[in-house]
C-alpha cells in the first residue's frame, strides 16, 4: 500500500515530463519486461513456493489486466471524461458531461494520454472498465460518435437509477455512477489537499446502501482480472503501482517526491560501471548511506579498500546488514517490476 500511495503522489509531476519521455518508454517497457521475466525466473529457482505464491497473482493479473484498457484504441476518451468531471469539481448532469466529451473527442481523441494528470488515473481506468463492460466488454471506441454512443448508454442507465442488481450490465453501470460520484467527492478533497493524495478510496458515506450492495455484488461477480488502477481492486492483491505506465519518468517521480537515492536508482544504471541495474542490483543496498551500485562493482570494491563510493566509509558487515535491507526492499521491487508489464500500453 505504501507503494500505491507513493505512486499517486508521484505521478502527477511526472505527467509533465511524461510526454517528453514517451520516446523512451517503449524501450524501457521492453527492458522492464525482460527484467520481470528474469526476476521471476530467479525467484523461482531461488525459493520454491513462498515466492511463487507471490508471483502467481501478479502474473495472473499481468496476463489479463491490460485487456479492458487494451481493448480500447482510444483510451484518452474515458479519461477526458474523468478530467472534465474533476475540473468541474462537482457531480454534474451526466448528459451534459457526455456531450462535452463527444465534442471534445472529435478534436482531441488522438491526444496523448499522458496529457491528463496522472493522479486521476485510478478513476480513469475504473471508468474505462465500466465503459467496456457496460457495452458488452471490450467494445472499442473508434470515433467521436461511438464515444458518444457509449457515453449515452451510460446516461441511459443513469436515468433508471438503482437498477436491478440481477442485470449484470445495469448493476455495473449503476455501480459506475456511484463510484463516479464518490470520486468527484474524492477529487474535491484532492484539490484541497494535493499532498495527501492517497489512493482514492470510495468514502462509504457517499454510497447509498443500495449502491454499496451493488458494488459488493459486482466485486463478487467480476470475472475479469483487476486492472492495476481499479479503485475497487481488493487491497489484499499485491500492490501494483501506477509508475508502471510511466516507467521512463519514474526516476523523476522519486526525485519529485524527495525520496532518497535509494529508490531513485530503481531504473537507473550503476554509477560505477554505467551498466543498467537489474532488480537484484537496485534492491541491493550495501551501505546505510543508500548508495546504489551493482553487485559486480561492489565485489570489486570489497576486493580493494572496501569503502562505499558514496560516503567513503568502510563497508561494515556489508553482507548481514545490507542483506536484510535488501531482502525487505526486494519484495517491493519485485512488485514494482512485475507491475511494469501490466501497465496499459498505448
Amino acid at each position: 500500500m505504501e507503494y500505491d500511495a507513493m505512486a499517486h503522489d508521484a505521478s502527477s509531476p511526472a505527467a509533465r515530463d511524461a510526454k517528453k519521455k514517451r520516446g523512451n518508454r517503449s524501450a524501457k517497457l521492453k527492458q522492464s519486461k525482460l527484467d520481470v521475466r528474469r526476476e521471476q525466473w530467479l525467484s523461482q529457482v531461488k525459493d520454491g513456493k513462498e515466492v511463487k505464491a507471490v508471483v502467481s497473482p501478479g502474473a495472473a493479473a499481468g496476463a489479463n489486466s491490460g485487456s479492458p484498457i487494451l481493448a480500447s484504441p482510444h483510451p484518452p476518451l474515458p479519461r477526458r471524461r474523468a478530467e472534465i468531471r474533476t475540473r468541474e469539481g462537482e457531480p454534474e448532469d451526466c448528459k451534459e458531461d457526455s456531450v462535452g466529451v463527444s465534442q471534445d473527442a472529435g478534436s482531441s481523441d488522438l491526444e496523448s494520454p499522458t496529457h491528463s494528470p496522472v493522479s486521476y488515473r485510478p478513476h480513469v481506468s475504473c471508468l474505462q472498465q465500466k465503459h467496456c463492460s457496460g457495452n458488452g466488454g471490450g467494445r472499442s471506441f473508434s470515433s467521436g460518435s461511438s464515444a458518444w454512443s457509449s457515453s449515452r448508454s451510460v446516461t441511459d442507465s443513469d436515468d433508471d437509477t438503482g437498477g436491478s442488481p440481477e442485470n449484470d450490465d445495469d448493476g455495473v453501470l449503476d455501480d459506475w455512477e456511484a463510484v463516479a460520484d464518490a470520486l468527484s467527492v474524492d477529487d474535491s478533497h484532492n484539490h484541497q489537499d494535493p499532498v495527501q493524495a492517497a489512493p482514492p478510496v470510495v468514502p462509504a458515506s457517499c454510497l447509498g446502501p443500495d449502491n454499496a450492495a451493488t458494488r459488493q455484488e459486482s466485486i463478487k461477480s467480476r470475472t475479469k482480472a483487476w486492472s492495476p488502477d481499479d479503485v475497487l481492486r481488493p487491497q489484499s492483491l499485491p500492490s501494483l503501482s501506477k509508475q508502471a505506465s510511466f516507467p521512463a519518468s519514474m526516476g523523476n517521480c522519486w526525485v519529485a517526491m524527495g525520496i532518497g537515492s535509494a529508490q531513485k536508482g530503481i531504473l537507473s544504471s550503476c554509477p560505477i560501471c554505467y551498466e543498467d541495474l537489474d532488480p537484484t542490483d537496485s534492491s541491493f543496498l550495501p551501505c546505510p548511506c543508500g548508495f546504489h551500485l551493482c553487485l559486480f562493482c561492489h565485489k570489486r570494491i570489497l576486493e580493494a579498500d572496501g569503502r562505499c563510493p558514496g560516503c567513503r566509509k568502510q563497508y561494515t558487515s556489508a553482507s548481514s546488514g545490507g542483506g536484510t535491507v535488501g531482502n525487505e526492499r526486494e519484495m517491493g521491487n519485485l512488485r514494482l517490476f512485475r507491475s511494469c508489464s501490466m501497465g496499459p500500453r498505448y
Partner: protein, 196 residues
C-alpha cells in the same frame, strides 16, 4: 583493463555541456587510446586564471574507475597546489580520496574549483605557496601573467588560424585536423590543404 564503455559514456556526458561547465575531455592528441586523454578547463572568473584555457593530461590506470585517474597540468600555471615545474597536482580526490562514483568530469570540475580556491597550507609548490601567503598581490599578478603567457596564446592563436583558413574556403574540421598535424604552423597547414 580500463572500463571502456564507462569512459566513452563519460566523454559524451562531459562534452555535452562543455559550454556551460567550462570543462571538456578529448582523446590525447587525437590519438586512439582511450586511456590517454586531454582535459580542458576554463580558468574560473574572478581569479588570476580568468580567460585562460588550461590543458590537463589525463592517464587512466587499468583499474579505473576503481583507481583514480592520473592528472597533470600540461599548461603551465602559477598555483600553490600545482607544481610550476611539471604541473603535478596536489588534490586529495586524485589520491586517497578518490571514489569510483567520481568521474573525469567531476575531477576536472574539482580542478577548476582548486584554481579558484587554493589551499596554500597543503602546497604542492612551496615557493608559490609562500608567495601566496606572504605577498598575495605579487602572487596574483604572477599568476595572471602566467595565464596570459601560457594559457591563452595557444588556444586563441589556434582559433585565429582556424578562422583564417576557414575564410579561405576550407572546411573547418579539415582545417583543424591539418593544423593539428603540423603543430599549428599556418603556412604548412595551408600548403597541405592546397595539395591535398
Amino acid at each position: 583493463m580500463v572500463d571502456v564503455s564507462r569512459v566513452q559514456k563519460e566523454l559524451t556526458e562531459c562534452n555535452r555541456d562543455r559550454e556551460v561547465s567550462g570543462v571538456s575531455i578529448a582523446l590525447h592528441d587525437g590519438g586512439s587510446s582511450i586511456s590517454h586523454l586531454t582535459g580542458t578547463i576554463a580558468g574560473p572568473l574572478g581569479t588570476p586564471y580568468e580567460g585562460g584555457t588550461f590543458l590537463i593530461d589525463i592517464r587512466l590506470p587499468g583499474g579505473y574507475p576503481f583507481e583514480p585517474p592520473k592528472m597533470q597540468f600540461i599548461t603551465k600555471v602559477w598555483h600553490p597546489n600545482i607544481s610550476s615545474q611539471n604541473g603535478a597536482i596536489c588534490l586529495d580526490i586524485l589520491k586517497d580520496q578518490w571514489s569510483p562514483a567520481l568521474t573525469l568530469k567531476t575531477a576536472l570540475l574539482s580542478l577548476q574549483a582548486l584554481l579558484s580556491a587554493p589551499a596554500p597550507d597543503d602546497p604542492q609548490d612551496a615557493v608559490v605557496a609562500q608567495q601566496y601567503l606572504r605577498d598575495y598581490s605579487t602572487f596574483s599578478s604572477t599568476a595572471r601573467y602566467w595565464t596570459e603567457a601560457f594559457a591563452k596564446s595557444t588556444s586563441t592563436g589556434m582559433e585565429e588560424k582556424v578562422q583564417k583558413l576557414v575564410e579561405m574556403g576550407f572546411p573547418e574540421d579539415m582545417v583543424r585536423s591539418v593544423l593539428k598535424s603540423v603543430n599549428g604552423d599556418e603556412n604548412m597547414a595551408l600548403e597541405k590543404l592546397c595539395s591535398g
